[in-house]
C-alpha cells in the first residue's frame, strides 16, 4: 500500500503497466525528460527509454493519428494530451478513426489506445485549459470515456483502460490531482470500466457527479444533511460512456428525486443524457424534475470569473433543495 494522490496513482499505474507489457508506450508533448507538465510521466523515460516514452512534435492530430498506426501495428499506445481542449485539433482522428476502426474493419483492426488528458477548472489556468467537453466524446460510439475521482480509482481505472481492447479517453480532474491522499495498492489491479460507484448511500435524493465535482457533490450533500436533514445518495459515475444506466435507474427508483452535477455548460451536456436516462427508466418514480447544477451556457471564462462559473457546494445544496421542495403538480 502507498499513501498517494490522484496524480501519484496515475504515475504508478503507468509504471506498472509498462513493466507488465512491453507493448505499452507513452507519447505526447513534454512527457520525456520533463515528465509531463503535471509530472504524470516523471521518471518513466529514465526507466523505459526514449522509444517507449516519446516526446513528439507539437501536433495533436499526429499524436492521435500515429497512435492509431501504432495500435493497429502491435503496440498499446498511451497518448498524453497536455490539456483536454488541446485534443480539439485531433478531433477528426478521434471521431472519424479511433472510434470507428473496429467497426469499419469488422474487428480485423482494433485500436487499444488510451488518451489521457487533464481537464476541468478551478486552478486559475489560462484560457482553454479548463474545458469539460466530456459529452462530445460520450456522444461518439466506439469511444469509452472514463473519469476517476479518487486515487484508488485513478490507478485501477487507468490500468483497466490500458487493458481494454477498445479506445478509452481517460480524463483526469486536475483540480484534485494533489488535493487528497488515499491508500492505494502497489500491485496491479483494475477497477471495471462501465460501473458507477456508490459514494454515499441515501434515501431522499440521488446526486450524480464525477471527477472533481465529486468532492463538491459530497460537500453539497453534507450541507443539506446538516441544514435540512436530507439524506442524499451520491453516485460517482466513473465511466461516462457507456453509462451505468442501471445504477442511475436503481438509485432514482429508491429516492424519487435526482440532481446532476457537472462543470460543462448545461445545454446538451451529459446531464441531459442522465435526465433522459431517468426519463427512460424511472419516470414513474420521479417526484420532481431532475435538477441540473452545471456550468452556465457560456464558454469557460478567463479565471477571474471561474469561481462564479464552476458549481460549488452551495449551488449543489440549492439544487437538492429545489428537488426536495418541488410540489408535484396535476401531472395527468
Amino acid at each position: 500500500m502507498a499513501n498517494t494522490t490522484i496524480i501519484g496513482a496515475i504515475a504508478d499505474a503507468l509504471r506498472v503497466a509498462m513493466r507488465r507489457d512491453e507493448r505499452v508506450m507513452i507519447l505526447g508533448e513534454d512527457v520525456g525528460v520533463n515528465g509531463g507538465v503535471f509530472r504524470a510521466t516523471e521518471g518513466l523515460q529514465e526507466e523505459f527509454g526514449e522509444a517507449r516514452v516519446m516526446d513528439t512534435p507539437l501536433a495533436e492530430s499526429a499524436i492521435i493519428g500515429a497512435s492509431v498506426g501504432l495500435a493497429v501495428n502491435g503496440m498499446i499506445p498511451i497518448a498524453e494530451i497536455q490539456f483536454l481542449a488541446f485534443v480539439y485539433p485531433a478531433y477528426e482522428q478521434l471521431v472519424s478513426h479511433v472510434a470507428r476502426i473496429r467497426m469499419r474493419s469488422q474487428g480485423r483492426f482494433t485500436v487499444p489506445l488510451v488518451v489521457r488528458a487533464p481537464y476541468g477548472g478551478g486552478i486559475r489556468a489560462p484560457e482553454l485549459h479548463c474545458d469539460s467537453p466530456e459529452v462530445i466524446f460520450a456522444h461518439t460510439p466506439g469511444l469509452k470515456v472514463v473519469v476517476p475521482s479518487t486515487p484508488y480509482d485513478a490507478k485501477g481505472l487507468l490500468l483497466a483502460a490500458i487493458a481494454d481492447p477498445d479506445p478509452v479517453l481517460f480524463l483526469e480532474p486536475m483540480h484534485i490531482y494533489r488535493s487528497f491522499r488515499e491508500e492505494v495498492p502497489e500491485e496491479y489491479y483494475t477497477v471495471p470500466i462501465g460501473k458507477a460507484r456508490l459514494a454515499q448511500s441515501g434515501t431522499d435524493c440521488s446526486l450524480f457527479a464525477w471527477g472533481a465535482m465529486l468532492q463538491v457533490a459530497m460537500q453539497g450533500a453534507d450541507m443539506v444533511r446538516k441544514t435540512h436533514g436530507v439524506s442524499v445518495e451520491v453516485i460517482d459515475l466513473r465511466t461516462l460512456s457507456p453509462l451505468d444506466r442501471m445504477a442511475i435507474r436503481d438509485s432514482v427508483l429508491k429516492t424519487g428525486r435526482a440532481v446532476v452535477l457537472h462543470e460543462a455548460p448545461r445545454n446538451a451536456g451529459l446531464g441531459a443524457e442522465i435526465v433522459a436516462t431517468i426519463n427512460d427508466l424511472a419516470l414513474d418514480a420521479l417526484m420532481a424534475p431532475v435538477i441540473r447544477v452545471t456550468g452556465y451556457d457560456t464558454p469557460y471564462p478567463l479565471f477571474a470569473l471561474e469561481d462564479v462559473y464552476v458549481p460549488d457546494a452551495a449551488r449543489v445544496a440549492q439544487g437538492i433543495m429545489q428537488a426536495m421542495n418541488y410540489e408535484i403538480g396535476a401531472r395527468l
Binding site: S61, G65, G69, V72, S96, T110, D166
Partner: protein, 347 residues
C-alpha cells in the same frame, strides 16, 4: 537538395521481362475492372465509385515494389495498389457497394481500410512505421494520397513526425493535377509536390507517374532505403485521372477536353506496350490471352460480389466495441425484432 537534380533517370533494364509482362497484365486488369465499375454504377449496380483510369502505372508500379510484409495505408482510389497487395477484387467491389467486406483484407494482407477523410491516413502510416521501427523487424510502411491531400494539416504533421523519428516510411503522392475541380496551381504555389519534402529535411523525388517502370524502380529504391534505416521518402508520381473524380462528378465542368486528350496520349498502358514491343515480348496471342484472363478474373469478382449474402445486423452492432454495452445490446434486440416481426420490440 535541388528538385531538378533528384529527378531520377532510371533505366528499364533493371526490370525483368516477366515483371514487365506482369505489370502489363495488372494494369490491364485494373483498367477493365475500372470501366466495368463505372458502367455498373450507371446501371445502379454499384454505389458512387472513384475511377482510377490513367493512374494505373503509378499504382501498379509502386505496389509491385512492396514486399508482402509491408503495411499499406491507402486513400480511396488505390484499387490497383490494393489488388496487387493481396486484396481480392470482389472485396474492392463490395466496398463500393457499401459493404464492410470491402474493408477486410484477408489474413496476412497488410492493407488498411480505405480512408475517406482526406490525408487522415497519413499519420496512421507514421504510427505504423514507428511500431515497425521499434520492433526492428523487416517491415516498411507506405501511404498513398493525392495532390490535394498535401494541403491538409495531417499531411504536414505526419511528414514532420516521420522525418524527426527517421521512420521506414514512404509517402506516395499520386499527383493527378486536381482535387476534384481544384487544379494544382490553386492548391499550392510550388510546381512539384516533392519540393514540400524540403520543409521536413526529407528526401523528395518526382517521377513520371505514367511510366510504370520509372515508378517501380523509384519505389523499389525508396523501399530499400527505408528497410535499410535510410528514413522516409516523399515520392511524387505525376499522373492524371482520365475520368471524373467519382461517378457523382462531371469533370467536363472544370477541365478542357484538350487537356484530357493530351493525357490520353500519355496513356500508361500504351506506353508500356511500346516498351514490350521494343523488347519483343508483346504478341497478339499473348495479349489476347491475358485480356481474356483479366476479363474473367474481373467478371468472376463481379459475380462473387453480386452473390454476397445480404447484410446482417451483426455488422452494425457487433463491432462497435469488443464487448457490447448493455444498452447497445437492447438496441440490437429491438432492431432484430423489427427485422423479423416488422415491429419494435417495445412497440
Amino acid at each position: 537538395m535541388s528538385i531538378d537534380s533528384i529527378r531520377v533517370s532510371l533505366k528499364e533494364d533493371h526490370v525483368s521481362e516477366d515483371m514487365l509482362q506482369r505489370m502489363y497484365e495488372l494494369m490491364w486488369t485494373m483498367r477493365y475492372m475500372d470501366r466495368r465499375s463505372v458502367a455498373m454504377q450507371r446501371q445502379g449496380r454499384l454505389g458512387t465509385y472513384a475511377p482510377l483510369e490513367g493512374q494505373e502505372a503509378a499504382q501498379i508500379g509502386s505496389a509491385l515494389a512492396l514486399r508482402s510484409q509491408d503495411f499499406v495505408f491507402p486513400s480511396y482510389r488505390e484499387h490497383g495498389v490494393a489488388y496487387v497487395h493481396g486484396m481480392p477484387l470482389e472485396r474492392i467491389l463490395l466496398y463500393w457497394n457499401g459493404r464492410y467486406d470491402g474493408c477486410i483484407p484477408p489474413d496476412g494482407v497488410n492493407l488498411f481500410p480505405v480512408s475517406v477523410p482526406i490525408a487522415t491516413q497519413i499519420p496512421h502510416a507514421t504510427g505504423a512505421a514507428l511500431a515497425a521501427k521499434m520492433r526492428a523487424d523487416d517491415q516498411i510502411v507506405v501511404t498513398y494520397f493525392g495532390d490535394g491531400a498535401t494541403s491538409e494539416g495531417d499531411f504536414h504533421e505526419a511528414m514532420n513526425f516521420a522525418a524527426v523519428a527517421d521512420l521506414p516510411l514512404i509517402f506516395f503522392c499520386q499527383n493527378n493535377g486536381y482535387a476534384i475541380s481544384v487544379p494544382l496551381r490553386k492548391q499550392t504555389k510550388v510546381k512539384q509536390i516533392a519540393q514540400k519534402a524540403a520543409a521536413y529535411g526529407m528526401e523528395g523525388i518526382t517521377v513520371d507517374g505514367n511510366d510504370v517502370i520509372e515508378v517501380y524502380l523509384a519505389m523499389r529504391s525508396a523501399v530499400e532505403k527505408a528497410a535499410n534505416g535510410g528514413g522516409p521518402t516523399l515520392l511524387e508520381a505525376i499522373t492524371y485521372r482520365i475520368g471524373s473524380h467519382t461517378t457523382a462528378d462531371d469533370a467536363s465542368r472544370y477541365r478542357d477536353a484538350s487537356e484530357v486528350e493530351m493525357w490520353k496520349a500519355r496513356d500508361p498502358i500504351a506506353r508500356l506496350e511500346k516498351v514490350l514491343r521494343e523488347r519483343d515480348i508483346f504478341s497478339d496471342t499473348w495479349v489476347k490471352e491475358l485480356r481474356e484472363r483479366a476479363e474473367s478474373v474481373v467478371n468472376e469478382a463481379i459475380v462473387a460480389m453480386q452473390s454476397e449474402p445480404p447484410v446482417s445486423l451483426d455488422q452494425l452492432f457487433d463491432y462497435v466495441y469488443q464487448d457490447m454495452p448493455e444498452e447497445l445490446a437492447m438496441q440490437k434486440q429491438t432492431a432484430l425484432l423489427r427485422q423479423t416481426k416488422g415491429v419494435d420490440g417495445r412497440g
